[in-house]
Amino acid sequence: MVVRKKKINVIRPTLRHKKRYISFTYSKQLSIDSKIKVYLSLFKSLVQDKGLVIAYNTNITVLDVNFSKKSILVRINKLYLDDFLSSLFLNKDFGLIKDLAIRSTIKQIKNKL
C-alpha cells in the first residue's frame, strides 16, 4: 500500500482575518497592575468615544504589557483602527502616549520593538 502525503489547505490571504497590532509607550506611573485593567481602561475610553457596539466590534486584545518599560502591545480588528486611535485621545489613564506603531503582523511589530 502506497502512503501519499495529503496537502494541508492553507487559508488564502484574502480570507485571512484582518488584524492590526498596535504598540505604544506611556508616561504615567500606572495604578493599573494587570492586563485585565489595561484592557478595561482601553475599552472604557473606546465606549466613551464611539459607543458600545463599535467597542465590541473592535475586539481589543491586550497581548503584552511591560510595566518596567511602560509599553503595551494590543491587537484589534483592522476595520476599526481609526476608531481605536481616536479613542486614545480621550484616555487619561496612560498620560502621554508616544512611539505609536501600527503593523499588520506580529513579527513586524516585534522587530520594531
Binding site: 508616561s27 504615567k28 468615544d49 481609526d82 485621545f89 502616549i97
Partner: protein
Amino acid sequence: MQKYFDFVSEKLFEENNIDFLEDLFLSLHINTVYITRFIKTKNNLNKEFKIPKSKNIIFKKAYLFNNISLSKNNKVTSLFLGQTLQNNNSVVNSKNKILFDVISESLSFDESSVKLSYKNHIKILFNFNNWRNKKQSKAIKQSLFIIPLLKNNLVDMLFCSMAEKPDELIDFNILKNFLKNFDLSENLISRFLNEKILK
C-alpha cells in the same frame, strides 16, 4: 510620513530639559514647534525671548496677545486670544489674523462671526487640550457646532496643544483620527495640520 507643527507654551521649556523635549517631539512626529509667550502688557514684549537651537526640530517664536492694540507689525507669528464674545468680535473684524481659542463659557462664535472670518482671512486656532480637561463638555459641544460651520464657509482651521507639561502633548496621528468626529475629511485634516497653512 507627514510631519506636523505645534504651538507650545514657554513654560514647557522652563521646567523640562531641551534634550528630553527634542526626543519627545521627534517621537510624536512634530517637526516645527512655535514657542508661545503670552503678552498681557507692553512690558512682556520688551523682555528677552531666547529660543533653543536644534538640528532635528525647528523652533520658532510666537506671541499670544490679550488685546489687538498690543501688537504691531511683527515678523513674529502673532496669535490673538478669543475666549470671550468681545475678544472674538474684535479679532474677527480685523484682517489677516489668527484667532486662538473661540471656546468660552457660553457660545460666542456664530454664523456672522464665521462669515466675517472668511471675508477678512482670519484663521481659527483650536486648543485641543480643552477637549481633554475639565472644560471637556462645553468645549466638545461648542466645537461640534463651530467646526462644521467653519468647514462649510471655507475658513481655515489650525489645531495646537498649547502644552505647559509634557503630558498635554499628543501624537498627531491620534489627533488626526479624533478630528474625524467633527465631520472633517482626511484630506482636509492633512491640510490643516500641514505648516504651509500658516503662510
